[in-house]
Symmetry: C2
Subunit: 438 residues, 2 copies
Amino acid sequence: MNIVLLSGGSGKRLWPLSNDIRSKQFIKIFKKETGEYESMVQRVYRQIRNIDADAKVTIATSKTQVSAIHNQLGADVGISLEPCRRDTFPAIALATAYLHDVQGVSEEEAVVVCPVDPYVDESYFKALKDLGELAQNDTANLVLMGIEPTYPSEKYGYIIPSGKENVSQVDTFKEKPDEKTAKEYIAKGALWNGGVFAYKLKYVLKRAHELIDFKDYYDLFDKYETLTKISFDYAVVENEKSIAVMRFAGEWKDLGTWNTLTEAMEESVVGKGILDETCENVHVINELDVPLLCMGLKDVVVSASPDGILVSDKNKSSYIKPYVDNIDGQIMYAEKSWGSYRVMDVEEGSMTIKVTLNAGHQMNYHSHERRDEVWTIISGTGKTVVDGMEQTVSAGDVITMQAGCKHTIVATTELKLIEVQLGREISVDDKYKHEPEY
Amino acid sequence: MNIVLLSGGSGKRLWPLSNDIRSKQFIKIFKKETGEYESMVQRVYRQIRNIDADAKVTIATSKTQVSAIHNQLGADVGISLEPCRRDTFPAIALATAYLHDVQGVSEEEAVVVCPVDPYVDESYFKALKDLGELAQNDTANLVLMGIEPTYPSEKYGYIIPSGKENVSQVDTFKEKPDEKTAKEYIAKGALWNGGVFAYKLKYVLKRAHELIDFKDYYDLFDKYETLTKISFDYAVVENEKSIAVMRFAGEWKDLGTWNTLTEAMEESVVGKGILDETCENVHVINELDVPLLCMGLKDVVVSASPDGILVSDKNKSSYIKPYVDNIDGQIMYAEKSWGSYRVMDVEEGSMTIKVTLNAGHQMNYHSHERRDEVWTIISGTGKTVVDGMEQTVSAGDVITMQAGCKHTIVATTELKLIEVQLGREISVDDKYKHEPEY
């Protein structure tokens, strides 16, 4: 199976765990049988591998997510990097061209496209495989998954099939309706449109060439910024006559709000949290290293991260967006390709961060114009390079770097350090990459 | 007026803002007209000064509170330091001897004793002055304040006066009753015992000499550890026939729980906090430097500090003690005589703290046996002394100190630094003071 997972942009609906650079699909919140926690993207990737160990998984995403994807899924997963956000049609066209020109997938093979974050069991991925086979067997140019509605939701688009068979032609599509209209649709046998579909690779490649002037994947990648923003629905689905839909009646949840997310959590508490015996339907997700005590609460979610603290009635949590849009916060924690960092202190004229480098990884060789830096290694071993001078370092070593000085650190083992930045205008933009001299 | 404020021990009832070394009376939670916040002890001290600018205020307390008292009230306030906790009779005897032998107060002057943390208006302190005058005029050997009950509380002891006059002799004292008994007491004209009383200095001094073998304040201070723990009620009040009580009907609150404390707060939010429009009777006290968002909550208090986070139904908050007794937390923030520190990161083998030294202040000259330290100055100017070597320092300077090395820092201006501690067994006990060599 060739599967493209669309890994959507960031969002603040799960603030303070999601922010402008950290998307909800990377929050480690689901307990595995081993007792460890996994994120949505890790869960989905594991489920796909369980169903089809040879599945060719490609994640269509933007640059900001690449580090998190490699950290969570390893180096082997395919990534179709979108140089900028251009809506779903360019993204799917690019991922399809990537499969063809980079991964060498034949034009005759089927491709399944699916969001990266459904909360489902493995029957869903079995259905995805069936979906791919239907496309492979030319059932239609596009084969959609239609999810059996469990209530008249106003949140989803609806697919009206022409018949009641497991697989049938699509009669019409309907936009998100009000509840009354949703009931009418369901009475007619309508299905939810979960944004999941399959096609033969050559079909989307042909549509892409009709709508965009490009030679191959590399050319498309280079001119990606010049493309018009347009959705796959608008560009392809609405103009296609040959569309089939396959029914899916298994578990399917869209964990887009704290309310739905906590419903899927196995445990009430992730991280340090204490609930008194009078708490009812309370969930705590605490990423801070301090205790969090809840007493006498009902239907409440509490989430704490270096970015902030949310305490919300679960039903009210879906209205979070306008409040967090007004929070103009510094990003306090970020995963990078080489590890992670956490902001510990911000003062006028200084910022102190804790840096964790994964074993074998290193920062880019870089310099800053407007700040000096001091590193104090607190654990691990590695090598620093400062203006070309190499030095082996371990816990207790201190490295001082003036503004303008080129520097990097290479971790031999996992390595942690405290970085004190000193200067008048400290900014992530004040960073200049250099060719390695080491 | 000579007034002794009993500044009680630490407690965790207002966790995470109060802890083993930080008592509730030092939490800055009350908004002043200037827009700044003041603590209970600052509020009480200001109110006393407003009523009697010349009042001689002595705070009877233990060593752990001295830094906080000087930081919050300045250097002028009298402190009767209890070398250890020995209950109220030894504490009041010591404070009385302190007033006589250190402050030079005459034996014929009256002394008023009062807890450090009542939430009251200035009429209360006017009443204290009256109480002192009653003692001065020999109305009785002990003159108590009796608070007019507003409900049949089970939390207070009761005083049954012999008559209904403003000042009358005490008939009997009653222990904390159940609600039904409290109603009966109130029907008989009983008053709450708020632990406030006045006496002539020589009266308590005489009692003290009868019960304890000591010469003067200095002698009493030296043998304080050998004294038996005994309450003032048990040692003095129960054996005294000449006791008067003065009625007080003004505002009086005992802010011992989050529920009662938040009732006294002028504003819903202290620190960074956002309440959505559906929150009802919600209070936020956030000492962290990150936003805290509350949505759809009712009758809830949320409090966040470097020590932890509490989210509690207000009524339930009075049952906090067993939960926080089980939290075996590191103290993450502390005020010291020279400034304050905050723990930013704890790892096996290292701890990183932020230190703020007030202008003109310095640490003790000290060393550690089992840890190295690295200081990175982030703001201000001062002088470090390391094994006798002096060095002027300012932002950006880095000082490294091996285990065993004697060191201190003297702040010229307010000075902030990041201290990285490195070692196997990092503990506050690993600290050895030395005579200054500078």
